[in-house]
């Protein structure tokens, strides 16, 4: 407080007090808009949807509470069961195949490959596309009369038949194909980054001990990439649960509702079929599914950090 002696004490104290207060509050003021927007837009709305899921809202929100009736209705709904089952099939295959392709491509790309950068760019570009674009293209490729089938016929395999896109038992697998095409390069990128971080002295030591390269990868390197596995699964599961665009572009949930996913179910009931209560209940269950994945993941992450 040296400068107070140079100026009249009161003035200095007042102005520096104001400046200090401003400096103290400035950071909070800067983050305040985000805090408010996210507080309302995510947490407030989440609660609001939760409240709506306990009401009998139809075309307009209503606040007549009916307890768990919407959830009970959901559980009895054939369409919701199909959507949930589809999510299990789609999610399981999507995550499994993406991991397999991603790991293999990453390991192969890690063998001092010429033009590695160019190849990586090719593997990853589908991630830059909209799922609507991806869906449009794959829908054309799998077109039952003019697509893949015609190509095979022209190439001489005249008995070839491929109409999964319009077959209600198989249509969900066409969505898996398109989704894997789009996201597997991304898993490759995650694993390649992980491989580049592996301590090379461990591998050198293993080689000295006479271990072959596949054994080193299987026994030493891949186990050390556990965190990459977990975060890949998290991201892929997250994509799977939220999947909406791809289904809308490829099948719109059809034939019938055979390719419905929970996100499609939620959209259809909330915005086109006038069953907001039911739609909200389905949204809350989607949130529950994500939490069931997220909480153990974050818990293990935090515990690992504490152990370090």
């Amino acid at each position: 407080m040296e400068h107070t002696q140079r100026r009249p004490a009161g003035v200095a104290r007042a102005s520096s007090g104001l400046m200090d207060a401003l400096q103290r509050w400035l950071p909070k003021l800067v983050v305040a808009p985000t805090f408010i927007l996210v507080g309302i837009g995510i947490y407030g709305y989440m609660l609001w949807t939760g409240v709506l899921s306990f009401t009998n809202s139809s075309f307009l929100p209503s606040y007549e509470f009916v307890g768990l009736e919407q959830y009970a209705k959901l559980m009895e709904s054939e369409r919701w069961l199909v959507a949930s089952w589809n999510l299990a099939i789609f999610g399981g295959l999507f995550i499994g195949i993406c991991l397999l392709i991603g790991v293999v491509l990453a390991i192969f790309l890690d063998q001092r490959i010429r033009q590695e950068g160019a190849i990586r760019t090719i593997y990853l570009y589908p991630m830059a596309l909209s799922m609507i674009v991806t869906g449009t293209v794959w829908r054309w490729i799998l077109n039952p009369s003019l697509g893949l089938e015609k190509l095979m016929h022209d190439w001489g395999w005249t008995s070839f038949s491929f109409d999964w896109l319009v077959d209600s038992d198989f249509a969900i697998y066409t969505i898996v194909m398109a989704a894997v095409w789009q996201a597997s390069g991304f898993v490759m990128a995650l694993f390649l980054a992980g491989l580049r971080g592996v301590d090379s002295s461990i591998i050198r030591a293993a080689r000295v001990d006479g271990a072959s390269l596949p054994v080193i990868y299987w026994k030493i390197i891949l186990p050390s990439l556990r965190p990459v596995f977990f975060s890949s699964v998290m991201v892929l599961a997250h994509i799977a649960i939220k999947s909406f665009d791809l289904v809308m572009a490829m099948t719109s949930g059809g034939p019938g509702y055979s390719t419905d996913l929970p996100a499609v179910f939620m959209y259809a009931h909330t915005f086109t079929r006038g069953q907001m209560g039911l739609g909200s209940a389905s949204a809350m269950l989607m949130l529950g599914a994500i939490l069931a994945l997220l909480v153990p993941y974050l818990y293990s992450e935090l515990r690992e950090k504490r152990h370090d």
Binding site: L37, I113, M131, F186
Partner: protein
Amino acid sequence: MTDVVRTGFRPSRIAIYGVLLLACLVYLIPLIIMLITSFKTPMDIRTGNLLALPTDWTAVGWTKAWSEACTGVQCEGVKGFFWNSFKMTVPAVLISTLLGAFNGYVLSKWKFRGSDLMFGMLLFGCFVPFQVVLLPMAATLGKLGLANTTAGLVLVHVIYGVAFTTLFFRNYYVAIPDALVKAARLDGAGFFTIFFRILLPLSTPIFMVSLIWQFTQIWNDFLFGVVFASGDSQPITVALNNLVNTTTGVKEYNVDMAAAMIAALPTLVVYIVAGKYFIRGLTAGSVKG
């Protein structure tokens, strides 16, 4: 670790290259099919096959997709929706990135009581399935008079994008030594001076990551577009979906593919020009959040 992996025998090298190149083909073929189909005539599509080159190249599909094709009730092509997407994407990207930069700066260098909690809440916000906010958001936009407007979509994309941008900048600024900021504070530099003089000049890479990530996310979004916009304010993704699903008249796959290319071009160009930053955004966004 590449230096330890010895080149090995020739057959295995050939096998590795074989697999990698085959994978390249698999990833590239849909794009190639999209391109060649868009330059075919409808006649050509019926007589040829997916991988047959057009017998005579024509841009009819492109001009039709751009200005004549039906997207639902109106038949004016996708050009209006293409510009809608720009009008929505550019402000939303800039606002969310700027907010994210300041938030990241505060949450790393000007921590206050509760700031870690706020960061945790933002982090969690990255994971929430958007289905859980759609209905209240639609109601709110209606009340604000922003339903079916580009401004409404900008607002929505800012709210649900700012968690990611904050995450990017916060994690970037955490790595910058606090001593730098402390020294500047002792010299009497204030909040904004420190940001603009010290942190901003170091921030080019993370700005690139954030801008590109947000551009790709917002341009490619379909869910918010289909829920919160209708008719004239729809973004290109919604228009493309409508075009493809319009069932009136004969299906023209060349027009579908041209429209898909038009919708894909901006993000593809960004990816080709600045792919490095796109990949960094992807990995940062996934590993940390």
